[in-house]
């Protein structure tokens, strides 16, 4: 029994954190809100350079040969800086199925999926009637959908007229791809929540009202303590799900759903309290806060909303005999 990360896993996290701090500061997220494709100038290339985009690809096929347990902390870092890139879709979903060499990819798996950044990637992995297909972007008919998070360029994707599609997986691959997406999304939400907590704690220490820092008021302390508690009891579920996925544990889908529900709720709480503690300052779009909150509001129901995941757990633990 050992429930902790290796020094290598922590070192990878630290390296990604350091890189993202440079490549994706808040100003870069703000730029992505306004630019043509909603993405960063150089973070994708930097991630490519570090190899993490092909981390799940076997070494023999030119990847790093890592697994979800190695990548879950990287997902947290992606969330922490609100990286506007199809990281989960490419690295956790598509590349893990089709390997490297297809350029950048997005993915559509699970209930009611839309294609994020489908207009700026080279190919999209789609789930179609229990099969996984890889479709080149040129073959797709896209219709833009407007997300509350303007960096999330979302599209309904129609591949029925695409000529070049390759079948790359069956029912089990579909299920596993969805689980990896939901897990990666949960880890991203944890990172987003951690950032929201951190900046709110900082803000509450410096903002004065009634002659004292507002962070000295019990009402704020208790709200932020609750966020800290929610994170404390979301992370272990995320890490365990990553472990279960990495060893193909038979219960991995239930473990993913447990962490997906918990992480979404923790992030939602973090956004709620972050805004309330910031007050009107946080309600302005000149504050960076809104970009993190809107990412939470977008992702908290992506790849299955919390109730969908709870229902998946319910069917496993309540309805069996």
């Amino acid at each position: 029994m050992r429930f902790a990360f290796t020094t290598d896993q922590l070192a990878l996290r630290d390296a990604v954190r350091e890189m993202l701090a440079k490549e994706c500061p808040p100003s870069e997220v703000r730029s992505a809100w306004a630019n043509a494709n909603g993405r960063t100038a150089s973070a994708w290339d930097a991630l490519t350079g570090m190899g993490v985009l092909d981390a799940l690809v076997p070494e023999a096929a030119g990847g790093l040969g890592l697994n979800m347990l190695d990548l879950v902390l990287v997902c947290e870092e992606v969330g922490r800086v609100a990286l506007p890139e199809p990281f989960v879709e490419h690295a956790l979903v598509a590349a893990a199925v089709v390997g490297s060499g297809h350029g950048s990819m997005s993915a559509l798996v699970g209930p009611a999926a839309l294609g994020v950044y489908a207009d700026s990637v080279d190919a999209v992995l789609v789930e179609d009637d229990d099969r996984l297909l890889l479709v080149a972007r040129e073959g797709l008919v896209l219709e833009r959908q407007s997300s509350v998070d303007h960096t999330r360029h979302l599209f309904t994707v129609d591949w029925s007229s695409a000529e070049a599609t390759t079948e790359v997986g069956g029912p089990q691959e579909c299920a596993d791809a969805f689980d990896r997406a939901a897990l990666g999304n949960a880890a991203v939400l944890v990172g987003l929540a951690q950032h929201l907590l951190d900046v709110t704690v900082d803000y509450a220490a410096t903002r004065n009202q009634f002659g004292v820092p507002i962070g000295s008021f019990q009402a704020l302390k208790h709200k932020l303590a609750d966020v800290r508690i929610a994170l404390e009891f979301a992370r272990p579920l995320v890490y365990r799900a990553a472990h279960s996925v990495s060893i193909d544990d038979i219960d991995r889908s239930v473990h993913v759903s447990m962490c997906a529900a918990q992480a979404a709720d923790a992030a939602s709480l973090a956004a709620r309290h972050a805004l309330q503690c910031h007050g009107a300052i946080g309600y302005s779009d000149e504050s960076d806060l809104h970009m993190w909150m809107k990412r939470v509001w977008a992702l908290q129901r992506a790849y299955g909303d919390p109730a969908w995941h709870r229902e998946r757990v319910a069917r496993a633990i309540l309805d069996e005999d």
Binding site: A112, S146, S147, V148, Q276, G279, A280, Y283, E286
Partner: protein, 389 residues
Amino acid sequence: MVVGSLRRMDLSWSPTEVAFRNEARAWLAENVPSEKLPSGDTRDGFALHLKWEQRLFDARWSVVSWPEEYGGRNATLWEWLIFEEEYHRVGAPQRVTQNGIFLLAPTLFEFGTQEQRDRYLQPMASGLETWCQGWSEPDAGSDLAGIRSTAVRDDAAAGWRLSGQKTWTTRGAFCTHMFGLFRSDPAAERHAGLTYFLVPLNTPGVTVRGFGRLDGDEGFAEVFLDDVFVDDAMVLGEVNAGWKVAMATTGSERGLTLRSPGRFMATADRLVRLYRDIGARASDPALRHAVVQAVIDVEAYRLQTLATVTAIGDGDNPGATSSLTKVFWSELDVRMHDTALALLGTAAELEDNGWMKDFQFALSGPIYAGTNEVQRNVIAERVLGMPRR
């Protein structure tokens, strides 16, 4: 519910009130734009909304409870409630004049001079002059008594020179006038030594800069004042008694006037319709009862308002209980939008469903007009009598 009367409870509307409702409903059905206007918190939308306000005013629906001389109908509080119900029921446009009509006007009626009422009320009602609040400052948000903007007496000119910065001023970039508090006695502290001023925003020395809100609209503004001269006629209430005057305004804001039950009844109706459309497909079985609870809460809010209006009619003063109301409606509004988004599931993030944008507006409720943390302090200390720190 403490003042007695021999008249028994009666929850029916009189024939006069029913006729009033029918008249309002018919006019609104005829006149409310069939296309939803663009947000009134954008420059273009604001202008379109003012056209609507003018139309309301011309038909004397703008300020139904005001005296006829200012464009009203002398309507009773009950009729005013009925009008608001009908207004929200039909989904009529947001009132971009509300800070003037619902906040400043009651204060003018209570503290203003006859000259001030004659000068300001009718242009306010027609939307010719539009008012924004000038209370919050960068360092005075929840702590309104922390105001630093100053009013320096200019005896020679028989007026005052205002300097400082106001912020989070809703629709400030589009309005013509501002009302707000300024520190007129530099020696006094906190709630003392403040004076309530009316300020035309085209006065020399005023600079207004609009900025965006959470929901993306340019609904906020900063107002910078650099030695802005206003004469004595622009003081509302007594000099150095601004806090008392302002508290009457915030009481209006938190309590009855701004957020009438009609608004939340309309939201609950939309929520019920959403549930009927997609509730059966939602993944969360709890949403059925969440929708019911929203309806129950809105009904409780409506009934509590009826009790309050009855009590006002009996000569009672609701006082600090407006804090109870503010916390309740603001958090109810958030809950209703949470429920709607949960019903929408993965589609909730899409802006075309309308709920996501309204959700962001709902989140401002627990913040503005005094954060709910401050309101709960007020409830504990002034309603329950718990000890101050």
